[in-house]
Symmetry: C3
Subunit: 369 residues, 3 copies
């Protein structure tokens, strides 16, 4: 039900400082993330192969991790390298490890076939490493399937109704503006939308000196498989010709949002809303951070209720309206990729998820039948 052979955001790098063992469930698998003494980020199945104790309740030793139930020690590849009181460690004993890449403050994880984990396919968002762009990376937990958040971001008409007093500004946005371009991509879509000569929306007004001058507002949204959203926003003085390329007096934002499935009905939501104009005034980032949280809480209330509605009646079918073109394209893309992956998996004999230890002897059911 999830696309496995792709990179997901597992954590911000600051979540792993000081040797912290971070327990995080991704796609219904319990995972422990940590940075070893060497600085290497490690992701292991958070379940000792011996009796199923949580490795995240264990102890980091160098780049290794020791289970603090009976003391089994695992290296960064998941291999068991010590069993207290036992001379020989069976060669195949161990826990699953996951390919992990740390880049631009993001810890990416590959949940599929490790042989295919190619870091060059990690999507680039250069603003996270560009010192000109400032922002505060943060995390929200959603009690909703990640695709409901993808849907939300796929139609900016919701700004008008959900975020009227925060990120949106007015209901006019839904009635008077439409995407000027919708590009169907192989693994996502690109949408561009302009709102000319409108009052600045509340979140933007808070961080600019002139609170009343009308602005021309442009949003360009990119959505990428499996749940990566980039938004390039521009606010230019009304009538200054920004739509023809004149960026004089314009203020811009770069926004990234990463939706990683925790379970079928819960989501890790990583985000950063960056600006290019704060200079040395950290309060701009702090104000934007607060405004965005205010807006996300409005989304969260709607979307989590939506999840409960869908849970209550699995037979309910949504009805598409004209504005659903992007989200419907995205879901078709994703369904095709998942179907292809599952077809291939059933053709190959070795399951992608088989833990290292599954071939070893001495397996035991947890409770007698």
């Amino acid at each position: 039900m999830f696309l496995r052979n792709c990179w997901y955001v597992a954590a911000w790098d600051h979540e792993l400082i000081d040797g912290r063992l971070l327990a995080r469930t991704i796609m219904e698998e319990g995972i422990v993330l940590y940075k070893g003494e060497s600085g290497q980020a490690v992701a292991l199945r958070d379940r000792c192969c011996h009796r199923g104790a949580l490795l995240s309740m264990g102890r980091r030793e160098g780049d290794c991790l020791r289970c603090m139930y009976h003391g089994l020690k695992f290296d960064a590849t998941g291999k068991c390298i010590q069993i207290p009181g036992q001379e020989v460690v069976p060669a195949k004993l161990g826990v699953q490890s996951y390919p992990v890449v740390e880049r631009d403050h993001i810890v990416w994880i590959w949940m599929g076939d490790p042989a295919r984990a190619d870091p060059s396919t990690i999507i680039d968002f250069p603003y996270l490493r560009d010192p000109r762009w400032k922002g505060i990376p943060d995390y929200l937990h959603y009690d909703a399937n990640y695709l409901l958040i993808v849907d939300n971001l796929s139609d900016f008409a919701h700004l008008a109704f959900v975020h009227t007093r925060t990120l949106g500004g007015s209901e006019e946005y839904a009635f008077k503006t439409k995407p000027v371009a919708m590009e169907r991509l192989e693994r996502g879509f690109r949408v561009e939308r302009w709102h000319m000569a409108s009052p600045p929306p509340p979140f933007h007004r808070k961080v600019i000196p002139d609170k009343t001058a009308l602005v021309d507002r442009r949003n360009i949204g990119h959505m990428h498989v499996p749940g990566t959203f980039f938004l390039e926003s521009l606010f230019a003085p009304a009538g200054s010709g920004a739509e023809k390329g004149n960026l004089e007096g314009a203020r811009q934002y770069r926004n990234c949002q990463f939706m990683t499935p925790e379970t079928r009905r819960t989501t890790h939501f990583f985000w950063n809303y960056l600006n290019d104009f704060e200079g040395n005034d950290g309060n701009v980032s702090r104000s934007l951070h607060a405004s965005l949280i205010e807006g996300f809480m409005e989304d969260k209330a709607i979307i989590e209720a939506q999840q409960r509605v869908l849970d209550a009646d699995p037979d309910f079918h949504m009805m598409a309206v004209a504005a659903d073109g992007p989200l419907m394209h995205f879901r078709r893309v994703l369904e095709r990729l998942i179907a292809a992956e599952q077809a291939e998996a059933s053709r190959t004999s070795a399951s992608l998820q088989a833990p290292v230890s599954s071939a070893a002897a001495g397996r035991q059911r947890a409770t007698p039948g």
Copy 2:
């Protein structure tokens, strides 16, 4: 599993004042109730046909309701009449609406085939509109199937044990009194029970001047499909001949209780306990209201525990005793009505619950399989 073609109490009218959007689940369907600007009570499926957002998080506009996710607007019949940014609204787009009748402070809802919703079949309890009878309408939520509450009200022997110190008065009631008449009705039953020359029970003693004089107590209970209970109580001076029709010195109560299934295991419980003797002393109603809540809490503790016992072992079968005649008759009546309704539904091709929108194009599963 529920009887659909009948009227249920959805709300007291005071729950809908000031344009409030009341979200209430009835028979496992989420419903939003409100009074339009015209004063008309409206009940719609609380689920936008577009993406499943809660309409109860929306905004009333006149007699209409706007979803505050993407702005779709629905009229009081559930028909979608506006989609922001889209010229044409598909004719069949909409959400289910339910027949609603407001009468004597009660908002009744019809959960079955709208074509059969005949307001003349709404059961009458004239005391709710008679200014001589005073009381305070109220609501309780039960974590129990509504029929367990029906059962409770079907055998007043429980007054003796559950309500000894509140509504009952003594255990004698169970040992020395019996129904003098039990009438099996086509859609319910009528039971009459007398307790002669007994001390007044605590709830009654609190609102009468003479706390010690013995009373002759008469309860006449009516139970009606699906879960409507009326109780006519009379307390007369002991030996005054009330049983022969002499009502001199008698004080009377009229009590209505409406059990509406929220889900299979939870219930909306609406009630009002009216008296004919308070005159201008509102404290009589207030004292009775407090006493009844005290008594209902005793029932609730027993009944909710009973529900948990039944949940824990679906194979448990209850054993009838002699006093269970009324409740067994009622359950047989109800089972027959439900069976007949379901047999008829399977004969007709159009399902009663099919939403207006189900025939429209563009249906989409909520998450990829």
Copy 3:
């Protein structure tokens, strides 16, 4: 899934003083325990045969119990002996009763075929009745299957990692010591383990005058079906020859732990940690009691997390290490006993769990289908 024909600990005797009605679920059956006026301990199914009300919300009358919903009265054998307002009580009406034996402050219950409930098969732990041994009986509730606690107690290497700073003392215990003897018993096992010339572990150090002298430590653990654990611990001056039988200067503990399944995933845990040296200083027992709770909380955190891990993935198979010999033997023993019991049960026509009332007439489903 549980072994039925054996004795389980249902309660400490002090839990039943003052006529208390103790509601306790054992092996997924709700049971009410009480001491009748005669002093006899009684265990009945906590579910009135009439409408399923909780008998533990009822009232003790002599050795009998009255349901406080409609007043049915049951004797200590579960037979219904009174129905208020009804002359004749059907002979077969009643609730299931369970054989109960009170011995050495423990109330034992037999969950299987009553005809086989032989008190002589109750396991003996004489220290509970020997005034020389002092301790404080207590109870813990676990959100974990009882066998995960049995597992925990089957390998004392966990003392080194889970209890380093409480009951264990050092990680050396896991690396340098091993069981010197492991005896496979027909219904359990016996393990003996020595740790020579080690600093006293924290819980022991707190109750002895010399905090620094090294000790020779011996643990002998007995595990018995279904979940009974006895531990005989000895701390002798290092080098005093305790291993050759010289007990001069030794201090000893006798520890009993009884795991009774509440449900498949929760457990009643009864325990007492006794010492033979406190004399009149009750603070020794109190200190040991506090230390043991501290240690049990460490186990509980690990084990309850382990249960959640197992719940999340029923396909997970544990991998045995060398130290798992005792626990694997115990699980094999238990599985064989359960299989034999179930095979026999399917051969006999009368089900062991059929309640007294099941053959009576007038059975009724709780809700209409």
